[in-house]
């Protein structure tokens, strides 16, 4: 299909556009969409600052940055989910306010999310034209036209399935291509691809990148986001690095090296302080028997051959990009997911088949989703806090009440520095930080040997974060072994003794936190080789 965007843009706004306004390396392509001085705030906190970018028609634009750098916020602004507080958006040179995702679609913005937004029970054609089926007389769907259009678009993305194929029967790659075809069906001039290769294998990735090139040749603008640096630099014409909600640089991909990109993403700021262990390092090292040791721990889908050991009083961090299997490792260690391999606790082999098993062995888990998995929001603090230790708090199934039991709960509450001392406060009425403290208090009540934390401070304000770091350090000093999974490198450098890097389900590198280098860790997270790392230094 011929898309008249190039001509259109030039005719309407392209010629009248101001001269190139200082975007480094901006090619002489007419921009399809442009942001000027865009800023976004969430409850008073600036998450995007003065972002000015232009995405040209016929350009593939790579977007890279750490978790939380502002990539997804920017995309949500472009796709009409958020409205920026400051700045303007220009589509084909004309200022617009994107009111909603459907308005964005009308303007020609197509977003391909990681979950694709397809309805599995419907056919490919139904999905593509959902809610805007070509209608014949009396509003009856014109199936001939529907299938013909669908077939043409599927051909365009080289997807050889029938328009009548049910989406749930398609492979991940096919769904991906269908999602792209869907965006083409409304003639999207800009296609945003969020981690399009995350679920694909080598050959599939090549085919997808091919399609991306074809889209570019067809004069469309593509925003390409990926955690694989090679891919981003390979496919895109220009790359923009975001950090802390700001544009650090926009460069032609050919003029930027991988290590340079990593350096730009991490920035130069150093960790100001580290939480030091209260006990002497020598002492912890001399405790010969690890509290937990994991050998050849594997899951068919999520992680492979994971081995590490955890000493008493030690905090081990596991870091990786989104979806590299690090969270699943924790869940499997907690018995929430089956995995093969050997886990020993205090030297004794432990088959952890369920969370209840793990709890009996002295392993506790603080999940990343505290509202969905950590707490019962409709119950009060006391009910939440005592949930894992009901047996210890009861005799013959009858709960102990009276002064001693009440004091015990109060003590647990003050141990984690909860801001309230009323155990009958409902969990939903607490702030995020205090909710997390209740979850931690629940786990502590089990007197654990091993604590597993998944993203312990996500979505928590700075003050409460610090409290939680101090708590984690205090448990370690109390003799527990601790594993923290987090996407936040600074956090891990702050609290951990050792940091393991997980990439594609494997532990690829190990760092002593004391002399670890942020950039180094980042490179390992992105799966960049060590030789290159040495070279870069």
């Amino acid at each position: 299909m011929d898309r008249p965007f190039k001509a259109d843009v030039q005719a309407r706004g392209g010629g009248a556009r101001p001269p190139e306004s200082g975007f480094a390396g901006s090619p002489a392509l007419p921009s399809f969409i442009e942001t000027r001085g865009v800023s976004k705030f969430f409850s008073g906190v600036r998450v995007l600052t003065d972002v000015s970018l232009s995405f040209g028609s016929g350009e593939v634009h790579g977007l890279i940055g750490e978790n939380g750098a502002g990539k997804s916020t920017l995309i949500k602004i472009l796709s009409g989910l958020y409205r920026p507080e400051e700045g303007t958006l220009l589509v084909k040179g004309e200022p617009v306010v994107i009111r909603s995702p459907s308005h964005a679609a009308e303007l020609g913005v197509g977003v391909i999310h990681q979950e694709f937004d397809l309805i599995p029970q419907m056919t490919a054609a139904q999905n593509m034209y959902l809610g805007r089926e070509p209608a014949g007389r009396f509003g009856v769907v014109d199936f001939a036209a529907l299938y013909a259009d669908t077939r043409r678009l599927l051909e365009e993305v080289r997807l050889s399935v029938e328009p009548t194929a049910l989406v749930r029967t398609l492979s991940v790659e096919q769904k991906q291509l269908l999602a792209i075809a869907k965006a083409l069906s409304w003639d999207a001039g800009l296609i945003i691809m969020d981690e399009p290769t995350a679920a694909l294998n080598g050959a599939e990735i090549d085919r997808l990148l091919d399609i991306v090139r074809r889209l570019r040749e067809g004069g469309r603008s593509v925003i390409f986001i990926s955690h694989h640096m090679e891919e981003v630099l390979g496919i895109s014409d220009r790359v923009t690095v975001l950090r802390d909600g700001r544009v650090i640089a926009t460069r032609p991909s050919s003029e930027i090296s991988e290590s340079e990109a990593v350096r730009m993403m991490t920035g130069k700021e150093r960790i100001q302080k580290r939480l030091r262990s209260g006990i002497e390092k020598e002492k912890t090292k001399s405790s010969e028997l690890p509290v937990m040791s994991v050998k050849n721990f594997s899951h068919p889908k999520h992680f492979h051959d994971v081995s590490f050991s955890l000493r008493k009083g030690e905090i081990v961090g596991i870091v990786g990009l989104e979806g590299q299997g690090q969270r699943q490792i924790l869940r499997a260690l907690y018995g929430d997911m089956r995995a093969s391999g050997e886990v020993r606790i205090d030297g004794v082999p432990a088959a952890l088949k369920s969370p209840a098993d793990a709890l009996r062995r002295g392993v506790v888990f603080v999940p990343e989703e505290r509202k969905e998995e950590g707490l019962c929001l409709r119950l009060d603090i006391e009910q939440n806090l005592t949930l894992s230790t009901l047996k210890e708090r009861s005799a013959a199934g009858v709960l102990k009440f009276g002064r001693a039991a009440r004091e015990d709960v109060r003590r647990s509450m003050s141990d984690v520095k909860l801001s309230t001392d009323d155990p009958s406060r409902m969990a939903y009425s607490l702030s995020g930080g205090n909710q997390q403290k209740v979850v931690i208090a629940k786990c502590l009540a089990c007197k654990p040997k091993v604590l597993l934390f998944s993203e312990p401070t996500r979505g928590i304000d700075v003050g409460a974060k610090e409290d939680i770091y101090l708590l984690i350090r205090a448990f370690a000093d109390g003799g527990s072994g601790i594993v923290v999974v987090s996407g936040d490198i600074s956090e891990l450098l702050l609290v951990c003794d050792r940091i393991l890097v997980v990439h594609a389900g494997r532990i690829t590198e190990e760092f002593e936190a004391e002399n670890a280098d942020r950039e180094h860790i980042m490179r390992a997270m992105w799966g960049l080789g060590t030789e290159e790392a040495k070279e870069a230094l």
Partner: protein, 316 residues
Amino acid sequence: MPPRLKKFIRNPALGNTVPIVCLIGVLLAAAGTIAPGLLARSSLFNLLRLAAPLGIICIGQTAAILSGGVDLSVGSVAILTNVVAANILQGRDANNLEAFAVCAGQAVLIGLVNGLAVACVGINPFVMTLAMSIVIQGAALVYSGGAAGGAASPLVKFMGVGTTAGLPTAVVIWLVLSAVTLFVLHFTTPGRRLYATGANRKTARLSGVNVPATLVLVYVASALSSMAAGFVVTGNMGVGTLEWGFDYRLISMAAVIMGGTSFAGGQGGYAGSFVSAIALIVLNSLLTIVRVGEPVRQMIYGGVILISLWASTRKR
């Protein structure tokens, strides 16, 4: 209002208990002005006696809804109990033990099947218990051959119509079971696990709660409470019958929701269900004495149920 009283009234385990007690007062006052005889001790006791089977069924229904599910087989279990018990008893106390054993056995079996299907197979509790109730109704028909027979034994009659310590025995049974229920819900570990399971199943599991076991226990307890209600009704009616005045399935659900137990699970308690059972029976009697015809009565009745459901959904 003193803060302690305020805190007591706001206790989430009480649900709507306080407003419903007020509602009962209003309904009784209205009934009293129309027919003063209704406020006599004997007729009040009679009302309570009528409310007892519903209240007892609500024990299981409260547990089921607290767990995040529902039990639509309650009424059928009560009917089956009535048909089977009357047939075994044949009016003789000598058959008491056998009747109790058989009815308890079938109730446990029904509860197990419901519980396992919901907890382990993952069938939606609405669908599962509805299907179960249809199966049980059929079984009751088959068992009775379409015409239920038999008669209650003196002991079972005493449960239904007798008097203990100045109160109707049915009411005494109800009060004792209610006390046990409140104790189990709020002062024991199974009670806590039930609330946690209903409030957030994932959290409960990650906190070491055996969620399937908790759910199975809930449905067994529910079937057993329906069985108890079945015996009280059998005593009341004296015979086995397939013609029941009430559809306990919906009314018990209405009473529990009206009492402030949330359909979302984990929120509320039995106190609200207890007073709601009374309120619904009082309303029913009030409508009878003002000679509202059966069809209109049902409309009003359904309206009240709808309003309370609507109000409780809006609150969340």
